[in-house]
Amino acid sequence: MTDTTRTLDLPDMVTGTRNRTRDRLLLIGGFIVVAVFAFFPIYWMLVTSVTPRDQVFSFPPRLLPATITLEYYADFFNNPALLKYLLNSFIVAGSTAVSSVAIGVYAGYSFSKFRYTGRRALMFLILSAQMFPQTLLLITLYLLFAQIGLLNSYWALILSFTSFTLPLCVWMLKGYFDTLPDELIEAAKVDGASQLTIIHRILLPIARPALISTFLFAFIRGWNDFIYALTLGGADHMTLPPGLVLTYMGEFQTSWPNLMASSLIVSLPIVVLYIFMQRYIVAGLSSGAVKG
């Protein structure tokens, strides 16, 4: 605040407008650059998935196909193996998310509203679990599931997915319960409500938005997982992401348009969830508990 009169100087105001035009151009230019980076790949996936084969495998590629075809989408829905993977994805991601939220909600509430010895240590142990390398856990999980006969089953996938969704759920729900005032719980206690009543009758109904958001994150993480599903699921229980790798990769000539159409199909449920639940997802994401 040294020299307030300076802002009133005429020459400065002129440079000010010039600067503003320059800033505006910079903003627009920057926007175009990042928008091309962010959206061209999606456009390209879409275009490839409807371009007839002879045009896909010609060089240089055309940014707009001369004719379009939906045969690759039909191929997906006519392929029983892919449909099975798709169903597996729904079963595994859904069960994982439901059970992680159900278990995580009690832990989150306890971490947030109770005080006992070891609470902080346990909390940070569970937080740090999101930072343990999945690949390392995978080796022992594989042996463990092989030993108890769970290898190549839905259980192997649900349990292994829970290893990354549970810490996420506990942490997100703890964050949510932290925002609820203690008085709410105290008042219920004064009215003679038991802890179970407090949780099920009072907290869970209030916490619905947080439960939905947590469920969505757990579902997305499970839906998107690749390496656990590839290694532990076996051909019958594998989800779509590794299923696509097995179906299309390692052929002599990868069928890119088929792969792009299938890629859009596997991305679609997530994008649809996102469109309807954007508010919840952005709030959860910016809380910082979620893996980027």
């Binding site: 605040m1 307030t4 802002t7 600067n19 903003l27 920057g30 926007f31 990042v34 390209w44 996936m45 490839t48 896909v56 060089f59 940014l63 278990i103 995580g104 009690y106 832990a107 109770f114 005080r115 006992y116 010895t117 940070f124 142990l125 740090s128 679990a129 930072m131 343990f132 390398p133 999945q134 690949t135 390392l136 856990l137 995978l138 080796i139 022992t140 999980l141 594989y142 829970t162 290893s163 549970l166 810490p167 506990v170 998107n224 690749f226 290694t231 992401p241 696509l244 990769m249 890119w256 792009m260 890629s263 596997v266 991305s267 997530i270 994008v271 954007q278 952005v282 994401l285 980027g292």
Partner: protein, 287 residues
């Protein structure tokens, strides 16, 4: 029952699950560093430090340098782009809410799809980047981006960047919204231009967000597997073989759990250092 007993009972299911599917597997895999053990054949033998010594002699340094290149690249590049997008979307952009939603799309897409998509974009024979480079006359012959040692790592880093920058944008945007307008006005009165108020107001105010985002990105990239595995499986000639790929291949292709455990133990030791830094930081923020 006392309140603290109830509190403990409520965590118990999560805790048991945690012990069985996270803690035990983590420790179990590290113990294998000291065993001669196969993924498929029964039996095991204690071999002491043999596996670790062998890993240190042979695999450790190449794995470390590859992992560091990937980690630094896949942390810095998304950070710069994500930050820039946040600043742009925080400015006066038409339909700002719509764009904020749209820019999250690359983050939502499964990592496997991200890998497929960029494999196709970088494709040596029919890829769109080769097409553009050739049309513009920048190169005379197609580049085999994923098949050559010089370009494979960068191709993977770019794919990963595309996948993660939206997360950084969301985090930075949330941080930007907490900065009071007064600070910018005060800076403007002091005669600071845009650039100056960015360095003197925005950056210091976002210090917490910036450290969180950089530390977490570093930790996650240090152990990232999926994008690399699908795009290159660690090749060509090991040029994208990070710790994660090295451990996976040792365990599930060579089926040598001793070697996988030894690499894993060294990897985990390095990772713990960064995780401890982060946790100390997170505890301070939390307190």
């Amino acid at each position: 029952m006392s309140d603290s007993q109830i509190g403990f009972l409520l965590v118990l299911p999560a805790l048991i699950l945690f012990a069985v599917i996270i803690l035990y597997p983590l420790l179990g895999s590290m113990v294998m560093a000291f065993l001669d053990k196969s993924l498929v054949f029964p039996g095991e033998e204690f071999v002491g430090l043999e596996n670790i010594q062998r890993a240190l002699r042979r695999d450790f340094l190449p794995l470390l340098s590859t992992t560091m290149i990937f980690t630094v690249g896949a942390t810095v590049l998304p950070f710069l782009i994500g930050f820039a997008v946040a600043l742009i979307l925080n400015g006066r952009v038409i339909a700002r809410g719509f764009w904020r939603g749209m820019f999250l799309l690359p983050w939502l897409i499964p990592s496997v799809v991200v890998s497929f998509l960029w494999m196709w974009i970088f494709n040596a024979n029919y890829g769109v980047i080769n097409g553009m480079l050739r049309e513009l006359g920048l190169v005379a012959e197609n580049i085999n981006f994923l098949g050559s040692r010089n370009t494979a790592m960068w191709s993977v880093i770019i794919a990963k960047t595309w996948n993660t920058f939206p997360w950084i944008t969301v985090m930075v945007l949330a941080g930007l919204q907490t900065i009071s307008r007064d600070l910018y006005e005060a800076a403007a009165i002091d005669g600071a231009d845009r650039l100056r108020s960015f360095w003197n107001v925005t950056v210091p105010q976002l210090r917490g967000v910036i450290s969180t985002v950089l530390l977490l990105s570093f930790i996650w990239n240090f152990q990232h597997l999926e994008t690399i595995y699908v795009m290159t499986t660690g090749g060509p000639s090991e040029s994208t073989t990070t710790f994660a790929i090295g451990v996976y291949k040792a365990a599930f292709q060579a089926r040598d759990l001793g070697e996988a455990g030894a690499i894993g133990l060294l990897w985990m030791a390095l990772l713990s250092v960064i995780v401890i830094v982060y946790l100390r930081f997170a505890v301070r923020e939390d307190a």
